[in-house]
Each structure stands twice: as C-alpha cells, then as structure tokens.
Symmetry: C2
C-alpha cells in the first residue's frame, strides 16, 4: 500500500484531506502539531480523528519563542467581526511566520523516514489568500526544494505535495468531505480556545459560511 | 544595524560563520537546536559561543520521533574509521532526514519575526557532499521557496540565505576563522557524545585533517 504523510490539524480542511487521501488508496501517517496554539481543542480533535480509522499519527511539539501571532501569543487578541472581504487582502494577525514551511519540513522528514511518496496538506488559496504559505506557487517551490534536499529526492524517489483543496470553496470542501464520510461533528475550527466555538473569528466564520452555502 | 539569523551548532563551521557575519556588520541572532543529538556538548558550546560576544540567541527544542539517524538514535552506532574517500560518495548514517530543511524553516520564522534580511548557515558542500541538504542548488531552491512563503518575501523584503563556507576546505575555513578571532578551543565537533572527542567519527576526522593541513 502506498504511504502518505498527512498534515492533520483537526480542522475541517485537513480532516477532509485525510479522508481524500484514504479514498485515493494511501496508508495515512498523520502529523499533528502542538505549536502552542490557544485552541488546544483542535489537537484533541486531531487525535480523535486519526484514531477513528486506525491511522498512524505522531504529535510533534514545537515552540516559536519569537512568534507574536494572535494564534499563539496571549497578548494578541484573535480578531472577530472583520468584514469577510477584508480577509482576502491583508495578511491576518493570525499569521504564524513560516508556519507551513515548518510543518512541511517535519512532514518531509517523516515521509523520508517511512518511505512515503506523498505529503497531503489541506492548504486553501481561496479562504486563506492572505497567507503566503497557502498559495500554489509556494507549494510548487517547496516541492522542488525538498526533492533537492533529501536523500530520497536525490536518489530519484520523488516526494510530491498534494493539495486537493487548494482551489475549492469551503462549500465545495464540505460537499466532497460529506461524500467521503468525514465526521465534521468532531472537527474543530475555532481559533479562540474557548469551550465552544466563538462564532466570530475568521475560522468560525468561514466554517459557518461553508455550511450555510450548502443549504 | 542590519540583522541576521545564524544557525549555530557550536561546531567549527557554524562558529566561523557567526564570526564572519559579525565581521560583515550584522547584528546576529543565533538559533541553537536541541534535536536530541547524542553530542549534547555542542549545545553547551553553542550557548557559550553565543554569549561570548553578547549575541542574542534562542534554543529551539525539537524531536523527530521517526529519525533513525546515528546522531540521535541510541541503537545506531556512530561510524568510526571509515575511509575518508568513502565519505564523499554515500549518504552517511549520520544523516538526519530533512535536518537543514527543518533548521532553516525555524530560522526563516525567526528572521521574519525580527525583520532580519539574512540567514547564515555554515553548510559545506565539500566535506559534506554526502548530505543533499548541504548543496548549493538546495540552498538556492530554499531561498526561492521561503520568499514565496513568508509575509516579508511577498511584501518585497527578500530574505537571503548566505553560505560563506560552502565551497571551502576545512583548512580554508580554519584559516578564515583564525583571522576573525574564532575561539576554536571552545567549539565542539565530535558526534559521539563522549566527554572527550572520539577522534574517529567523520566530524572529528574532518576537524583534525583541517588543522593538520595548516601546519
């Protein structure tokens, strides 16, 4: 069975990506990051989701002592009530410097160690167009770099980075996931770290909008 | 004063690189990795070296639960007495999957957070030609990727990766470092984790050969 490493956050996109990779016939090895995010609930959600179908997983704990992102810094407030149109223009305060670069580097290390030929990441260029590291040209450049910088790549066992959701709307993602049997009830999207979703952060709003569009 | 992030291991190459960056007029911010290496002494050496001239530094602790490298896995022996000529052909068992990719991703995150325009890494393509992630084409591809994947890069504040030692022999590195006042006595190169350098691992042999060539 072909092996794939999946970046699993426990949110809607990465969970859909995991189910997509399984449906494509990959044996899935999930990497779950504890990067000091306020929304610890997503880590518990990710573990639950990985376990659900008996997927292998590793939790990788990292700390960025220099990060002032609203996702990790207790002094910076997660913004709510921003107009949805503004989200696509600016780089949000929830941006964590080079986060996907760091995540993908661990995924590449894992992939090389287990001989996986694929990394799946639920990056999305529509909803998160403000994040430079969710764009197709970044992913392409990453793939080129990693094949020059790893033993496997140099020996001709190329590693490919798959981004099945990159050009989908949230509603399209949910439609795909529903067909694949994604248990959306146990995914977690909210950035705020509360007991219940706040309903006003970017992530909550995008999630709600996605489900609303399907009605 | 221009800022630079320096990947500092506490070894001969990275310490020379730090002194080189200082000589070029950069205010240096060092990143020191605790990645579970057996040779913990190099971390203590790195901290001592960073402190010596009052450089800022951060220690980043990471674990790769999947790594079977001889540098981190207690079951795999660090090889000694290999013929030096063989080192340049094979990928050594001391190779840690995607190590420089991971190290550089943290450096890029740090650089973006403090507004640094340079990352200095003591990668060397001659002595470590067996490591794919020490080669110039990898560094170039990394730089391209990171400028597509970070806020700074996207906004036109390009990040450059400097590899001043990449084409130097060990003897040339030591000659340069001696001119710059590098305190080689407190650097640490041995892979084996003993109290004194083992003298037979690749790193010890390269170090000794470098000093010997200067006589």
């Amino acid at each position: 069975m072909k092996k794939a490493v999946i970046l699993l956050s426990g949110g809607l996109d990465s969970t859909t990506t995991l189910y997509y990779a399984r449906a494509k016939g990959y044996k899935c090895f999930c990497v779950i990051f504890d990067y000091g995010q306020k929304h610890k609930k997503e880590i518990r959600a990710a573990v639950k989701i990985a376990n659900l179908m008996g997927n292998d997983f590793k939790i990788v704990k990292i700390r960025l002592p220099w990060s002032k992102s609203a996702l990790t810094d207790s002094m910076t407030k997660i913004p709510g009530n921003r107009r949805a149109e503004r989200m696509s223009k600016d780089i949000p305060v929830t941006y964590v410097p080079a986060r996907n670069t760091i995540f993908l580097s661990f995924a590449a290390s894992y992939a090389e160690s287990i001989g996986a030929s694929r990394i799946f990441i639920g990056a999305n260029a529509l909803d998160y167009s403000g994040y430079p590291d969710c764009r197709p040209n970044f992913i392409k450049a990453y793939e080129k770099m990693i094949n020059l910088g790893t033993k496997g790549g140099v020996e001709g066992k190329r590693l490919k980075i798959e981004t099945p959701l990159i050009n989908m709307t949230k509603a399209q993602i949910i439609r795909l996931g529903t067909k694949l049997g994604v248990p959306y009830g146990i995914t977690w999207s909210c950035y705020s770290g509360g007991k219940y979703p706040c309903g006003v952060c970017d992530s909550c709003r995008l999630r709600e909008k996605g489900f609303a569009e399907l009605l």
